[in-house]
Amino acid sequence: MKRKHREELPITERELNGLTADLDDAHHESLPQMRESLADWDTESVEDDGAFVRLVRGTASRRGFLLGTGAFLGGAALVAAGGGQAMAFASTPAGRNALSPQAKKLTGDLAVVALAASLENLAVATYQSGIQAANAGHLGAVPPAIVTFAMTAQSQHRDHAAAWNAVLSAAKKPKVTGVDLTVKNSVIDPAFAQVTDVTGLAKLALELENTAAATYLAAIGVVKSPAGVQTAATIEPVEEQHGAILNFVLGQYPVPNSFTPTTGARPTSDQIG
C-alpha cells in the first residue's frame, strides 16, 4: 500500500509504536489461551447433530444482507473504477481447493464452524483485495492509519480462520479454505467493483465485520459445545473492535449500540467454496 505523504505529523511513529509494543506482546500471549480452548473441542467430541442449522436460518439474498446490515450501498455515490481488477484475488480464492461438498455435509456445531471459517477467509481475501487495489493506485491516497488497520485486521482474521480450521481438523474434518460464496457473490463482488476510494473500502469492511460479529453472536446462542461458545466469544469482541475503529474512521459514532445485534447473521445454508 502506498502511504499518503503528510506535511505535518503531530505525533511520531516511534512514540506510538512504543506505545503499541506491549499490545503486540499481548496479542501473542492470547494465542496460547486460544489453543487451550481449541484443545477442549477435541476432547469434547464435537457434536454434529443438526441443532445448529436453525441458528442462522435467514435470507441469503443480497437484499437481505443489505437490509440486515444497514444498506450502506443505497446512499453511496460510488463510481465503478478499478475495483473489479483488484477483486481478482477474492474472485479466484484458494477456495478452488475448498471442500464445499464436505462442508455442506457438516451439521450441528461443525456446520457453524465451517461457516465461521468461510467468513474469516472472505474477510482475509477482501482485505487482500483492498490492499492490492491500494497498491495499484485505484483508491487514491491511502492514509497510513488505514494501511496498518487493513494489514492488522487481515492478520487477525487469518488467525480466526486458523482457529476454526483447527476445530475441524480436531474433529477429523477437512479444513475450509474457501469463502462464503453467498456473501461474496451477492454482496462483496458487486460492492467492491464500485469502490473507488478508502472511504468506500472502509464501508465495505465495516459491513463484513458487522456480519461476522453478528454471526458469532447468533452462534453463541445455539452452539452446544462450551468450548465452541468460548471460541466464538473470544473472537466476536475483536470483530466489534474492528468495527468501532472503522466507524470512527468513517466519522460515525464508534459504539452505536448498547447491545450488539444479531441482525445480519449468516445462515449455515450459505454456500462455501
Binding site: L16, T20, A145, Q156, P237, F248, Y253, P256, P261
Partner: protein
C-alpha cells in the same frame, strides 16, 4: 479541535435510535429466563425489587462502609435464599456490580474539568457521557436477568474493582490517567463476560451477556486510540470525524491488540454476587 458539535449531536441521536432497537432485541431474550429461573430456584424468597433501577454508587474509601455492615446484614437476613443463589445468578450479579462501578466511575470522571468540563475535548466528553449511559443500560439488563431468575438485584459496585478505582482516584490529574483507568475497567468487564458466556447455563442469560461483551470491547478499542493520541501529544486529532490523513499509522491498529480477546482480567463469578 476540529469538531462540529451539531454533527456530533446528530451522530449521537442516530446512535440512540439504533440503541433503542438494540434494547428491544435484548429485552426479547429476557422473558424466557422467568420460567427457567423459577425452576432453578429450589427455595427462598423471590426478590421483588423493581427492575431497571441503577442506584447511585458513591466512590470513595467509605463506600462500602456507607453501604453499611448493618444494612448488608439486614439484606442477608431478608433474602436467605441468595446465600445459595444459583451460579447463573451469581454471575449476573457480579456483571451488574461491574456495570454499577463503571457508571459511577464515568460519572465521577465527568466531574473533572478535563473530562466533562470546559477544558475537556468535546469528543472525549461526549464519549464518556454516552459510555456511561450504555453501562447503565447494561446494569439494567443484567439486573433484569437476575430478577427473572429469581435472584436479588445487585446495585452495589464490584468490591475489588471499587478498590482499584479508589486507589487510582488520587492520580486522576489529567485525561491520560482517566483513560488508563477506563481501559482497565472496560477490559475487565469484557474479559469477564467473554468468560461468562461459556459458564452460564441459561441460554438467555448467555445471549444477554454476549450482546454486551462486544460493546465493552468497542469502548476499550476507542480508549486505546484516545490514549495513544493523548500520549503522542496529538489530542487535536481526537475528533469526529477525524482527520484520517493526519492520523499516525499506529492509530489504525492500536485499538485491537489481540486476535482473541484475553480473559486474564476476568473477575471471579462470585466477586460481586449478593451476600
Amino acid at each position: 479541535m476540529s469538531i462540529d458539535d451539531r454533527q456530533l449531536t446528530e451522530l449521537i441521536e442516530q446512535s440512540q435510535d439504533t440503541h433503542s432497537d438494540a434494547m428491544r432485541q435484548s429485552r426479547e431474550s429476557l422473558p424466557d429466563l422467568v420460567e427457567i429461573g423459577r425452576a432453578a430456584r429450589a427455595d427462598g424468597e423471590v426478590d421483588t425489587t423493581p427492575s431497571g433501577v441503577v442506584r447511585p454508587v458513591v466512590l470513595g474509601g467509605g463506600a462500602l462502609a456507607a453501604a453499611g455492615l448493618g444494612a448488608a446484614f439486614t439484606a442477608l437476613l431478608a433474602t436467605p435464599a441468595f446465600a445459595t443463589a444459583s451460579k447463573d445468578v451469581q454471575i449476573l450479579q457480579t456483571a451488574a456490580s461491574i456495570e454499577n462501578l463503571a457508571v459511577a466511575t464515568y460519572q465521577t470522571a465527568l466531574t473533572l474539568d478535563f473530562i466533562g468540563g470546559a477544558s475537556a475535548n468535546p469528543v472525549v466528553k461526549a464519549f464518556a457521557m454516552k459510555t456511561m449511559s450504555q453501562h447503565a443500560d447494561h446494569a439494567m439488563a443484567f439486573n433484569a436477568a437476575v430478577a427473572q431468575l429469581g435472584g436479588k438485584q445487585q446495585h452495589q459496585p464490584d468490591p475489588t474493582l471499587l478498590n482499584v478505582v479508589n486507589q487510582a482516584k488520587a492520580g486522576l490529574t489529567g485525561p491520560g490517567p482517566v483513560v488508563d483507568l477506563a481501559i482497565e475497567l472496560e477490559n475487565d468487564a469484557a474479559a469477564t463476560y467473554v468468560k461468562d458466556v461459556s459458564a452460564l447455563s441459561n441460554k438467555d442469560a448467555r445471549n444477554t451477556t454476549a450482546s454486551i461483551m462486544g460493546v465493552e470491547a468497542q469502548h476499550a478499542a476507542i480508549l486505546y486510540a484516545v490514549k495513544a493520541l493523548l500520549a503522542g501529544g496529538a489530542a487535536g486529532l481526537i475528533a469526529l470525524p477525524p482527520n484520517v490523513a493526519q492520523l499516525p499509522a499506529a492509530a489504525g491498529s492500536v485499538g485491537f491488540p489481540n486476535s482473541f480477546y484475553p480473559t486474564q482480567g476476568a473477575r471471579p463469578a462470585t466477586e460481586g454476587a449478593s451476600k
